[in-house]
């Protein structure tokens, strides 16, 4: 046991040739005679030679691995993005390291530094809520200054000049709202987030635009911007109470548009408790085409953000920067279009 892997040097002494002969043989260099080549390759195979990636990295000054930092991993959207990144990257011969910031600024900085310090050629990141709130991007600037390319996705900021991959949140929200309007709904409840999350902000604007374009005057009582709670469980409880109160106050609505699945699931629970029929009396739609939408009754109509595609695109952008020096200068922003997945709630 503990058979510590064999090195070029060992093969060389064992075979009575030089290290470079071994190296060249293994890399199938034309410099080496067929005879020797065969001999070396056979020996290497027999002894399960595996080239030491670390040594290679040190030599080449590149690690062929890319780092991904996401705010949360237990999250349908993000894990799908990772899926996309993983698929494309591995197909291009890159490894993927994943780190989680847990929505914390401090942890994000730590993770970023750990990565920048060593093992990665480039970083793909979606910013933590706290970072967005603080608007402190020093750690990102620093690693970019070190010549490490950074790609931002989904949770981005205009304060950083680098490649970005975003969803067209505004037009997605507009489409969703319009979708409800076209079903004859006029009093549409919006469940959104606080404005510092650009995502929530854009979606709210899309909602407002759709109303305006259809000549519907927005009703402030129909716009709920959820407060961040410590846990999403608590957030649910608070939100459910708010919706309940709304109904009890007699504020009427015939549609609901939520900026994510769980808000809509919360609304659905309330409606069912109040015995309001979906989609008969109220139509419902939300962002995030995740697991929940598929397993509620009725199943939820959603706006898909094409998470996997976002992942692939981010990886493409990064690897391009990595392989082609000249691409380092220009910075581009890719916009992924949303699409509506209709299910039973509309």
């Amino acid at each position: 046991m503990n058979k510590k892997r064999i090195t070029l040097k060992e093969i060389a002494t064992e075979l009575g040739v030089s290290i470079s002969t071994v190296s060249k043989s293994l890399n199938n260099s034309p410099e080496i005679g067929e005879e020797t080549k065969k001999k070396v390759v056979a020996f290497a195979k027999a002894h399960q030679y595996r080239t030491n990636t670390i040594a290679l990295s040190l030599k080449n000054r590149k690690t062929k691995t890319i780092g991904v930092i996401i705010p949360e991993i237990v999250h349908y959207f993000f894990s799908n993005v990772i899926n996309g990144i993983e698929n494309y990257a591995s197909q291009q011969g890159y490894n993927v390291i994943i780190a989680v910031s847990n929505e914390s600024f401090e942890k994000e900085v730590l993770q970023m530094e750990a990565m920048a310090n060593g093992f990665i050629d480039g970083i793909i990141i979606s910013l933590a809520k706290e970072t967005l709130k603080k608007q402190d991007y020093y750690h990102l600037q620093e690693t970019m200054a070190m010549g490490i390319p950074v790609i931002l996705f989904d949770r981005v900021t205009s304060n950083l000049s680098c490649d970005k991959v975003v969803v067209d949140d505004k037009s997605g929200a507009e489409a969703a709202t319009t979708f409800l309007i076209n079903k004859g709904r006029k009093k549409i409840l919006l469940l959104s987030t606080q404005d510092y999350l650009n995502v929530g902000n854009h979606r709210t604007n899309g909602y407002l635009d759709a109303l305006k374009k259809n000549g519907i005057f927005p009703d402030n009582r129909l716009i709920i911007k959820c407060n961040d709670q410590r846990s999403s469980e608590e957030e649910m409880v608070v939100l459910e109470k708010q919706i309940e109160a709304l109904i009890d106050e007699g504020v009427d609505f015939d549609g609901v548009f939520a900026v994510n699945e769980i808000y809509l699931a919360a609304a659905l629970r309330v409606l069912r408790a109040k015995n309001i029929k979906v989609p008969k009396e109220v139509s419902m739609i939300c962002f995030t085409d995740g697991v929940i939408s598929r397993y509620t009754t009725p199943r939820l109509t959603t706006v898909s953000q094409h998470a996997e595609e976002m992942g692939i695109t981010s990886a493409e952008l990064l690897i391009e920067k990595l392989e082609d020096e000249s691409s380092m200068d220009k910075t581009i922003t890719k916009i992924i279009q949303c699409s509506i997945v209709e299910r039973e709630s509309t």
Copy 2:
């Protein structure tokens, strides 16, 4: 831009001292005079010196990173396990690399080799369905033979001698079934998987044991072992049909125990379509305390497998092996107890 990080060598020439003096100063060696030390440290700081992890790894023959291979990432249980691993590992100064096998044997082998080839000190893995079916563990044996410690979690096999972290599936299933029996249920529908998945197998046994201990004779018509379909969507459709058929045939049941959330969610949909009241007429419980359970109506009572704890335990086991040579010989299996989280479906 592209400020390529500074090296010891550069600092040395810049300051007119030797490389080793710089190295020692930065590592606060007592060998170096206070004066020089200060000077070097100051200079390093000013130029944002960061030690090159790769070089260190090459020297130390350890990378301080651990690899994790999971069958799926878009999965509540696995992402929670990762969360646990990540938390413990980073706290111990380790990085975590994640790879996904996508339930494919081939991909698992590839990922394993990529990892074993270089960047990781040890591996934590949950086996792909295909691997379990094939029962081919050569790749694992090989990396263990290379002296790389491997920890198996959740999807394990008795054919491999290494540390393992498993859930007590059988007693969890027994507890769940007993839970329903104690609510006065006697005709309990079991929704399980094919037997080659040890997880499904154990849970089925737990179910049978609970029945036996309570003097209930198992009814084969009440045991459904779902076939793997290409996608979980398809699996749902098939399963829903099966349950529907059961009811239409007049096979009666007053409880449902499913080995995972989505099976139970499927059952719930059918029951609601048939206008059967939950939990009034039928009580329901399942394994996997995930997102879905929290957002259906009624919310589902579940058996929690303490995913995060499993992650932490796996990481502990691995890091222990990594830091303490002498622990390499013994192999231990940790069993994580399940617990029931009661919600509205019982």
